[in-house]
Amino acid sequence: MTTGLLLVQILNGLQFGILLFLVAAGLTLVFGVMDFINLAHGVQYMLGAYLAVTFVALTGSFVLGLILALAAALAFGLALEFLVFRHLYERDHLDQVLATFGLILLLNQGVKIIWGAAPLSVPVPEFLSGNVALIDGILYPTYRFALIGAGLAVGLLLWFVVDRTRTGMLLRAGASNAPMVSALGVDIRKLFMIVFAFGTMLAGFAGAMAAPILSVEPGMGDTVLILAFVVIVIGGIGSIRGAFVAALIVGLVDTLGRSFMNDLLRLFMSAPSARATGAALSSMLIYLLMAVVLFLRPEGLLPSRGRT
């Protein structure tokens, strides 16, 4: 193990964390502001990836395809809100979980009917397809840097909107006391609709950005959804800052665990048993982390203000 490799793996961890943040941001926004458990967030992520596949192929340009995919994801989010979610706001969490779980089944099967069961992909855009040479001759894909940039941009945008604009102020107010905001003459339903559609678009954006590095296939959102929930539970539900910090921690812990757990265990174990234990332990690490956080700080690392 060299310092160079360690630095590269830390970069990998941060990069994976940013990818997780992209997915978790929309989820925590909807969960935090609307107190709505949206299990369908994962399939919305998947749909973003599929839309990117279609539109990038159609237009021949990644940027143009991405914009069209975002617009389509937004439209889809509005339609879903109108057809399904708006009828669930008043219901309890179990109803929301059941209904959105139904959406997972429906959409997973739906994309299979439309796009087929075989995995698809989006080519990396030409201008981002190169590599950057890091220490030790390890090449780092330029697209990964673009991904980090996109994640940071989304984080900044969300922080700005939620903390610095009038809409954001209403959102925060709505999150702590919706009937009061409504009584003050604000159309809370419209506000929720916007938040929800925006959350869907964020999920779609994450899916579209992940499409060039990950396999686009039915069910691709399910694994990501679990990780996203881990992130928002660790970070504190509804907190954008919490999601950001937690995503980076989860990314780092997971990546460094996978990279160095074996070498660490080999110091006091035989190679085969270190391998077996290392593989098992490193895939458990983030869940152990979540358990520890829940034990010490049940409300998460950086709980959003105004919630109890």
Partner: protein, 389 residues
């Protein structure tokens, strides 16, 4: 009036019943395959490959019309066993063809074989059923699972590679895979990595590979895992620097997603769509015309399963005499798309294995192509544990 009507209706029904009884009883075949979830791409190839052979025979196998029931095992052993049991108990079933995955085979083998039907696996070839648990009514038209991994181990050894980095998912098949590779590869294994089945991002592993500088990498990363790994491999600039050997990682089911990133990568198989024989040319052309994708080994093995049934039913003159039918199946008297194909005593094939290489065709589609023969007339070693003669 009413009585008369009833009588004539009864007579009519009776006549109808007699007419059906006189017509030839169809072959009852169940095709068990995974058609939901991410693995459905493989299951569809099995279903379609089998159907194509039946269609080309005018809806008959061995001159007898066939009645096919498609059963989706959903890649869940409990679901599979429930559906298959009710199917075989629902009436005289002649053949069950399937499934894709070994864990499903383990679940459905008993109910199918207990019912007296003949079970033909078009893909799964576990070591248990090749050895002690072999059965006179069980046949495999693919290979014994370990053999595919051994092809790459043998090739790596033949190439005299000294240092290998090997990677597989953390479950039983992954461990079997790396063990199969190491059975023939005698060089140093720099690292043996097991990743979770749900892995998305391989940048940590790829950075370790780049820094370990192995002579060769061997990977068993089926389905979406392989798509992620191969795309990220090429993005990390490893293409062309380290030879990439793999099993079930780059094939016709994943190539539409991997595309250029996979070109030049190696796999191991018994067949490839460019195999130089007339039956393969005809099969690939017909399959692409019907289903719009390049067929992989899954479709090919299911097609051969249908041809096997066709030849056996023809030779035995129907399915009435089970001993005669079994003897006819054992002869494997059909023109396999692979060319060289015969059965061992345990119902598994003895055949050639090749190193295959991913290439882009002139029409822009991707396929594996035969690079070189690695094993000739290769039989699995488990046959000696099988009591059948």
């Amino acid at each position: 009036m009413t009585l008369k009507f009833t009588l004539s209706l009864g007579a009519g029904l009776l006549a109808l019943g007699l007419a059906t009884a006189q017509a030839q009883e169809p072959l009852k075949i169940g095709v068990v395959s995974v058609l939901t979830g991410p693995a459905a791409a493989l299951g569809q190839q099995v279903r379609d490959g089998f159907q194509l052979a039946v269609d080309q025979n005018g809806g008959k196998l061995g001159g007898v019309p066939v009645q096919i029931t498609i059963i989706d095992d959903e890649l869940k052993p409990d679901v599979a066993v429930g559906k298959v049991r009710s199917f075989v108990e629902g009436g005289k079933v002649d053949f069950v063809v399937g499934p894709v995955f070994s864990n499903i085979l383990g679940a459905i083998a008993k109910p199918v074989l207990d019912s007296g039907a003949i079970l033909i696996s078009p893909n799964a070839g576990p070591s248990t059923m090749a050895g002690k648990a072999c059965h006179q009514n069980f046949f495999v038209t693919s290979y014994q699972n370990d053999q595919v991994h051994e092809v790459l181990g043998k090739y790596a050894q033949d190439q005299n590679y000294k240092k290998a980095y090997i990677i597989a998912p953390n479950y039983q098949a992954g461990k079997d895979s790396l063990a199969g590779f190491k059975r023939y590869f005698k060089g140093e294994v720099l690292d043996e990595v097991y990743v979770p089945l749900t892995s998305l991002d391989f940048s940590a592993e790829l950075a370790k590979i780049a820094s370990a500088k192995p002579d060769v990498v061997f990977a068993f990363l089926p389905g979406g895992l392989g798509v992620n790994f191969v795309k990220q491999w090429s993005q990390a600039g490893l293409t062309g620097k380290v030879p990439f050997l793999s099993a079930f990682t780059v094939d016709e089911s994943t190539l539409p997603a991997q595309q250029d990133a996979a070109v030049g990568m190696f796999g191991g198989m018994t067949w490839a769509p460019n195999m130089d024989n007339p039956q393969t040319k005809k099969f690939v052309t017909a399959y692409e015309a019907a289903y719009k994708i390049v067929p992989g080994s899954y479709a090919q093995q299911a097609f051969d399963a249908a041809q096997l049934i066709d030849s056996a039913v023809k030779a035995a003159g129907g399915t009435g005499d089970k001993d005669k039918l079994r003897a006819a199946i054992k002869k494997a008297d059909f023109t396999s798309l692979r060319g060289n194909f015969k059965f061992n005593t345990n119902g598994y094939p003895i055949q050639d294995f090749y190193l295959v290489k991913v290439a882009k065709r002139p029409d822009g589609k991707f396929q594996t192509e035969i690079a070189q023969k690695v094993f000739s007339d290769y039989a699995d070693p488990h046959a000696k544990d099988c009591a059948l003669k």
